[in-house]
């Protein structure tokens, strides 16, 4: 009997796992990454970067000083403008972009901000966005055009963009902090760095997608290269570029709020952090809502840019502005900070949450502890360590392990006899992982396992790449923390895949379900990462379970969306062919829709993984172990070496996961001839 590639890979991994576990008692270095194999990478990076940063410090400080002018100006203008005028302006812009709907959205949104009493903080945040977005857009446009005009650079530019987006935001806050010094400028630059890649990507994509004949028509009209680019190609790519503008705005807002952890300026993100630290959940909730309102406003309005333009009478806009001006005179002396229409609401929320947690504390604790003791903890340290008398009611012994392995072995034999060799071997591996725990997996097994998956997914090249990258993490001395991050993100991704997959399926089967799910997904995707921490903190306090929940809430969306999208976009002729062959609805789903949707669903899983890693770092704020925590600690201590190394390790994990899943998706697509 010859084995398939998958079986060979699984068998190899299993062998290494068994060997390591058997030898572990006499050779403990097989489990923990041996200290002899590490180098003081963090110190080296720290020293190298410090020297490098010192070199650029004067320049950076100069830039920082120069940028403080437009920033202060924006802050001053927005802060000092009478609030009716600002509301009028946003409403007027809303009208121009999207007519009555957008105008109302603008007025209602800013009205809410005003009444919340967080006007000043909001304007400070807005000022940062207003300055960082043009910076990011110019950078993105330049990078996109450069990559398009010089095809040789394209690969390199794509790689740089990947890195800019996968390295966790907190990680580069640290060197920026050293470089630019404390202050709002760091947030500004960080958000520009974070927001430029989506712009650049969309510019490049848009330019690449311009119809060849449109390009040729511009050439044949006798345009110079610059005329072709600026008069024809960029305008023809406008829709895609506007998608980039939308993403750029959202990224900038998200980052500006995250950058609040540096502190030092009185913006809305800082307000959330402050109230959260003081456990004032009412005000934190309210401030979080303000952020959500901003995100929705910015997202929906800028999304209109990418739609075919409808003409709305400009005179209405001027009228709204004029009204705003008049109101400004009337309310000239009214300080927006004195509004506090929701203070009582915030208090009520506070009290309500307090009462709820007091009354149902036992239930909440039950949920939390149940998930921790019976789900997360065993995953992390394995059944052999997690099963204790005071939680599970008995002590785990070798007998229990033997039972688990025995059951898995029987299952494996059964599966192999049914012809599913790979599944059988994988069952054994899973049993091994469950008993051992992810954070205590022997490192040779992790390397061989990832290498094997890489080999099936994308051949030797991918396999080699993944193993080398992982070895880098080990050599840096971050292996244990990386495994902890892997465990938490793995658990979240698994939960998201199950829940999101089920919800996506439900959305595909029922129109009503999708009508409910869709707006929820929209909102969840619009909310800046940071805000997800508020509700979980309210009910479950600081801890790993809260982090897990926050990650899931954020990362589940792509899984839902892609699953549904994959399932509903099966070509109609395939469905008709199946129907005319007499297939039932369920048969069509299982035999036609699901296989066809597989590549799309895999892409959704890929997105979910990336989202989970992005959130993992933010969740470090509410107590996780692993790389996220290191990055956050490094920020507090201005430890550039640790921040960057841990950030790079995080990016490596995300990158490896991304490439592996992409490889499988690609393979499925090829198999389907897509």
């Amino acid at each position: 009997m010859s084995l398939s590639r998958g079986s060979i890979a699984a068998l190899m991994s299993l062998t290494v796992l068994v060997l390591c576990l058997l030898l572990a008692p006499i050779a403990p270095w097989l489990v923990k990454w041996p200290a002899a194999l590490t180098v003081p990478m963090t110190e080296w990076v720290g020293a190298g970067m410090s020297a490098f940063l010192a070199l650029f410090k004067p320049l950076a400080r100069g830039f920082s000083w120069a940028m403080s002018y437009p920033m202060n100006a924006a802050g001053y203008v927005l802060g000092q403008s009478p609030w009716p005028l600002v509301i009028g302006l946003v409403t007027a812009i809303g009208w121009v972009l999207g007519g009555l709907r957008m105008a109302l959205l603008g007025a209602a949104g800013l009205g809410f901000v005003l009444l919340s009493g967080y006007w000043h903080q909001s304007m400070n945040t807005l000022a940062l966005v207003v300055v960082s977005v043009p910076l990011a857009m110019i950078m993105g446009l330049a990078i996109g055009i450069l990559a398009f005009e010089v095809p040789r650079l394209r690969g390199a530019v794509q790689a740089v963009l990947d890195v800019m987006q996968t390295v966790p935001t907190f990680a580069y806050l640290t060197p920026l902090l050293v470089l630019f010094g404390f202050g709002p400028v760091v947030g500004l630059i960080a958000s520009a760095i974070y927001a430029a890649p989506p712009m650049a990507r969309n510019v490049l994509l848009g330019l690449e997608r311009v119809d060849a004949e449109i390009r040729e028509a511009a050439v044949m009209s006798g345009g110079t290269r610059r005329q072709q680019l600026f008069l024809v190609e960029i305008p023809a790519a406008a829709t895609q570029i506007m998608v980039g503008v939308n993403q750029c705005l959202m990224a900038a807002l998200s980052m500006v709020i995250i950058a609040a952890v540096i502190g030092g300026f009185d913006d809305i993100g800082w307000e959330v952090l402050l109230t959260m630290r003081k456990a004032q959940f009412g005000p934190a909730f309210l401030a979080g809502l303000v952020i959500v309102v901003f995100a929705i406003l910015i997202d929906r309005m800028s999304a209109k840019l990418a739609e075919p333009r409808q003409r709305h009478d400009r005179r209405v806009s001027w009228g709204i502005l004029l009204l705003g001006g008049l109101m400004s005179v009337v309310f000239f002396s009214q300080d927006p900070a004195t509004f506090g229409a929701f203070d009582s609401l915030a208090e009520a929320v506070d009290r309500g949450v307090g009462r709820f947690t007091a009354n149902h504390g036992a239930t909440l604790d039950g949920i939390k502890n149940g998930a921790m003791f019976y789900g997360l903890l065993p995953l992390r340290i394995g059944l052999d360590d997690a099963v204790l008398p005071f939680t599970w009611g008995f002590k785990w012994t070798a007998v229990h392990s033997a039972i688990v392995y025995g059951v898995a072995g029987l299952l494996a034999v059964f599966l192999v006899l049914r012809g599913r060799v790979t599944a059988g071997i994988v069952a054994m591996i899973v049993a091994g992982i469950l008993v051992t725990g992810i954070s205590q997996l022997p490192w040779p097994f992790v390397l061989v396992g990832v290498g094997a998956i890489g080999w099936i997914s994308g051949g030797w090249k991918l396999s080699r790449l993944c193993v080398i990258l992982l070895v880098l993490i080990g050599v840096s001395g971050l292996w244990e923390r990386a495994l902890l991050s892997l465990y938490l993100s793995g658990a979240s991704v698994f939960a998201c895949a199950v829940v999101g997959g089920a919800l996506g399926l439900w959305g595909a089967l029922s129109k009503t379900a999708w009508a409910v799910l869709r707006p929820v997904c929209d909102i969840l995707q619009t909310i800046p990462l940071f805000v997800f921490l508020i509700p979980v903190l309210m009910f479950f306090q600081i801890g790993e379970f809260s982090a897990f929940l926050a990650i899931c809430m954020y990362a589940v969306v792509p899984m839902i969306r892609y699953t549904r999208h994959g399932l509903v976009t099966t070509p109609p002729d395939l469905i008709e062919a199946a129907e005319s062959a007499g297939a039932t609805r369920m048969q069509i789903l299982r035999e036609v829709r699901a296989p066809y949707a597989a590549p799309t669903i895999l892409l959704g899983l890929n997105q979910t993984i990336l989202y989970a890693f992005a959130m993992l770092v933010i969740a470090a704020l509410i107590g996780t172990t692993g790389l996220g925590q290191s990055i956050y600690l490094a920020l507090g201590q201005a430890d550039v070496g640790l921040g960057l190394t841990a950030g790079a390790a995080m990016a490596i994990l995300a990158l490896v996961a991304d490439r592996l899943v992409q490889g499988f998706a690609e393979e499925r697509r090829r198999a389907l001839g897509l």
Partner: protein, 348 residues
């Protein structure tokens, strides 16, 4: 300018377009090898899209290049207009070598001499119809008012008056191609490239635009390279046709020559379903006058008349013939003329 009045509008000599890495060097080597240049190139993984193409287009001539998809016809026209850089060979426009022209000179030629129409129209989606048509004029640096006036003039020519402020997305396919044609004529070029201009349109609109195109051409007398995959279109429009296969021009001739004397089975296969009677004239089948001129009442046949028409005229001089049913009973009559009409379709 090195052009002379006697030079053909377009002269193409030994043109090669090879796709793939280091195409130029590979082509030189393969040619030195001698026999089977294209086969050598293919064996090395390169794609010879156009092989050794040579032809001339006279001033005012409508030259059609016909071939199936993938035969290299679109590549060929892009080489001639230098939208892509040919691997080897020469292209002279009004006697001037366009392949060695500087970038500046190339832009000048495109602004003054060359016009091009695209299969999928290539309209700029963000510009109104008038702005699309005026775009080449804008490149030339003409003033706004002059551009608009000229745009309206050309739009009038293609029958789009009144739609100048519409956007391409608001137009039908036929209307869009009218805009494409108008734009390519805006600078009044001498040389006109049309790359399958009517292929994306439905049959009725296609025929209508073909007719209008012929009438525009009869007034403007441009020198035209027209690409098509439709033999009927080629025969209808062309002064001369070049037939391409696998990047090679296999035959060049007038529509009649192509139909009557196909050089090989490939060309014959194309023309098999073409009603020959419509493309052959009496000149090609008549014999010299012998000893005696036939006597009697002959139908009015003239030289240059196609066979279908002639046959109709001849048949008209016969009496009606009875038609019997199975039992030999006469149930009707048929005029021989009706046969010809029925078989020749609408043109009979």
């Amino acid at each position: 300018m090195t052009g002379t009045d006697t030079a053909p509008a377009i002269a193409v000599e030994g043109l090669w377009q090879v796709f793939g890495p280091n195409a130029r060097a590979a082509l030189t080597e393969a040619r030195a090898d001698g026999a089977g240049t294209a086969a050598t190139l293919k064996a090395r993984g390169l794609i010879p899209a156009v092989r050794e193409a040579s032809f001339e287009v006279a001033s005012g001539e409508l030259f059609v290049i016909m071939g199936l998809s993938g035969s290299g016809k679109s590549t060929l026209v892009r080489c001639i207009s230098r939208l892509i850089e040919p691997t080897a060979g020469a292209v002279r426009i009004n006697g001037e070598d366009i392949l060695t022209a500087s970038d500046k000179r190339l832009i000048e030629m495109r602004r003054d001499t060359l016009g091009m129409v695209f299969q999928h129209f290539g309209l700029f989606p963000h510009m109104s119809v008038a702005d699309n048509v005026a775009f080449p004029l804008k490149m030339k640096g003409e003033g706004k008012a002059a551009r608009r006036a000229r745009a309206l003039e050309v739009l009038n020519l293609v029958g789009l008056e009144g739609r100048e402020d519409a956007f391409p997305r608001e137009l039908s396919g036929g209307q869009r191609q009218r805009v494409g044609i108008a734009r390519s004529l805006a600078v009044n070029p001498d040389i006109w490239f049309l790359d399958e201009p009517f292929s994306a349109l439905d049959p009725l609109i296609r025929r209508q635009l073909q007719d209008e195109f012929l009438s525009i051409q009869s007034n403007l007398q441009k020198s035209i390279v027209f690409i098509t995959h439709d033999i009927a279109e080629a025969l209808k429009l062309a002064d001369r046709i070049a037939i391409m296969r696998d990047g090679e021009i296999v035959q060049i001739g007038t529509p009649t020559q192509i139909v009557l004397n196909p050089v090989d089975d490939y060309v014959r296969e194309f023309t098999r379903d073409v009603p020959r009677g419509r493309h052959m004239t009496l000149d090609e089948v008549m014999e010299p006058v012998g000893e005696t001129t036939p006597a009697g009442d002959w139908p009015e046949l003239r030289t240059g008349m196609n066979l279908e028409t002639a046959l109709t005229l001849c048949a008209a001089s016969f009496e009606a013939v009875p038609v019997q049913d199975g039992d030999g009973k006469v149930v009707g009559v048929v005029h021989p003329e009706s046969f010809v009409r029925a078989l020749g379709g609408e043109h009979g």
